[in-house]
């Protein structure tokens, strides 16, 4: 039996195309992946992300524990701030990638991947049991009681505050990665200026009982701005264009954040933490394989996860494998991410993607593949 989010009824009423995703029955799309993708790039899109997990860590000892199990520097967070971070095992492999928020002085919230909730919670519990002074905090899996939506796109800041008329502060005044409490339907909701699309936007965590009222209010507030409900299909094409990793594709327990190009989120200088020894050594030597972004050089079938990557110069063996690939709705060509031998990972390397036995020319490009300025550039050209 597939799990359903509290917004399942809303998706059905909107005529969503529902699919299985990591044990959940989720909307793939409503009107169409490309249309929803372009709505987010040009106006606004609303995503159900209630399948994602919420794990809280509360107490005086929370920050020290979190700083030990996560790669980023949790001590750098003020109350009301969030950061992207990675939960690593002893080998520096990623148990999960997540967002850590310092909601209050000694109250932290982790937003984790749906498919990793149980694995993360079990790992955190086992690490806490072994952590010196581990009694000074409480770890709680709140995934069942909390739901969440993401509202993303350049026009969202113009309407989001219609949802919070009673709040003294405005969500549109939040800075990137900041989080604050707002009031909706008499309950506190957590609003952060974050997202997974490369556009400006917000994510809202709320009690499961009020999420449908919030979803409906957002759809109403954003209607004039062109807000569309958007599914996992657009979520994936949007994040691929901006090269955000997806757990299970760019990260897993045998892949380190350094291999995945996430060194910015690994604070090697903060003191000891889980996986640090391996990561420090890998940083010093340089990883043998690295994540590279690429675009197809000609009109072709889209690259797909698992396809072999070849050097354009040939060779007896592939140089790597595609981890994520799709047709870019913004650029109109095939794009992807893949792990390649480090010497091929720099931008502007000519490569070939093997698609059904044929090596189709492609080239590595700087990340992100899609930048907002390109859209502005295109608009200026066609004006």
């Amino acid at each position: 039996m597939l799990k359903r989010t509290p917004l399942y009824g809303a998706h059905q009423r909107l005529g969503a195309h529902l699919v299985e995703f990591g044990g959940w029955e989720m909307p793939l799309c409503y009107s169409g992946i490309i249309e929803e993708h372009l709505a987010v790039r040009g106006a606004a899109g609303l995503f159900d992300i209630s399948h994602m997990g919420e794990i809280s860590a509360r107490g005086a000892g929370a920050v020290d524990f979190l700083n030990f199990v996560l790669t980023n520097d949790a001590r750098a967070l003020r109350a009301g701030q969030g950061q992207y971070t990675i939960l690593c095992n002893e080998r520096g492999g990623a148990v999960d990638d997540l967002y850590l928020y310092r909601v209050d002085e000694a109250d932290y919230l982790m937003i984790v991947n749906a498919s990793r909730i149980e694995a993360d919670f079990a790992w955190l519990q086992s690490r806490l049991a072994a952590f010196p002074g581990g009694g000074a905090m409480e770890l709680k899996n709140r995934s069942g009681e909390l739901a969440a939506v993401a509202v993303q796109g350049p026009k969202v800041a113009g309407f989001i505050d219609q949802c919070f008329p009673a709040s003294a502060r405005t969500a549109a005044a939040l800075r990137k990665n900041d989080m604050a409490r707002f009031s909706f339907a008499g309950r506190a909701v957590l609003v952060s200026r974050t997202g997974y699309t490369g556009e400006d936007g917000f994510e809202i965590v709320a009690d499961a009982e009020i999420i449908e009222a919030l979803w409906d209010k957002l759809l109403e507030a954003g209607r004039g701005a062109g807000l569309k409900p958007a599914g996992l299909g657009a979520r994936d094409t949007l994040r691929t264009e901006v090269c955000y990793p997806l757990y299970g594709h760019e990260l897993d327990e045998n892949t380190t954040p350094l291999e995945a190009g996430l060194g910015f989120f690994v604070a090697l200088g903060k003191g000891d933490f889980m996986g640090r020894a391996v990561l420090a050594q890998q940083k010093a030597q340089g990883p043998a394989r690295k994540l590279a972004a690429f675009t197809m050089a000609e009109r072709s079938a889209p690259p797909r996860p698992g396809y072999s990557i070849w050097s354009a110069a040939g060779g007896a063996e592939p140089i790597g494998r595609v981890s994520s690939g799709t047709q870019s709705p913004s650029l109109g060509i095939g794009i992807g991410l893949g792990f390649v031998a480090a010497e091929f990972a720099h931008a502007k390397t000519a490569i070939g993607i093997e698609i059904r036995g044929r090596r189709v020319p492609a080239r590595t490009v700087p990340r992100p593949i899609y930048r907002r300025v390109e859209k502005d550039f295109k608009a200026a050209q066609s004006a």
Binding site: G15, H17, L28, C29, G32, I33, I34, G233, T237, R299, S300, A301, P302, R304, T326, Q327, P329, R356
Partner: protein, 128 residues
């Protein structure tokens, strides 16, 4: 959403449609299939002159999400492919039964037509 299933066409269990005119068959994918696939972004068609057997995979349709094989509903020789799909694969979504056709076959064994599904049977197969 209920899919459009034109009564004058024949269908396969794998969601291809067939329009018969004499010993020529035009093949595409059904409205139901294009809806399930979502946005089509690329179609790989067989070469003209290729001889295909009924049930043989001979084309690939790629949506944003996935790649799917297209099976020839009948045996024969490919005599034409839709030249519009290279530049406009989205026609498979917007006009699956006309502008979005895939290829035409000259039939080798016209009696195979009897194995195809009528519109009523196909409609029953795709009923939710």
């Amino acid at each position: 959403m209920s899919a459009n299933v034109p009564p004058e066409l024949k269908y396969t269990k794998s969601h291809e449609w067939v329009r018969l005119e004499g010993d020529t068959a035009t093949v595409g994918i059904s409205d139901h299939a294009q809806h399930e696939l979502t946005d089509v972004v690329f179609v790989e068609l067989p070469s003209v002159g290729r001889k295909v057997a009924a049930g043989e995979a001979c084309a690939v349709v790629e949506s944003v999400k996935t790649a799917s094989d297209i099976y020839s509903p009948l045996s024969g020789e490919v005599v034409a492919v839709n030249p519009e799909l290279a530049a406009h694969p989205e026609r498979v979504n917007s006009d699956p039964y006309h502008g979005g056709w895939f290829f035409q076959l000259k039939l080798a064994q016209p009696s195979e037509v009897e194995r195809l599904l009528g519109a009523d049977s196909y409609e029953k197969q795709i009923a939710p």
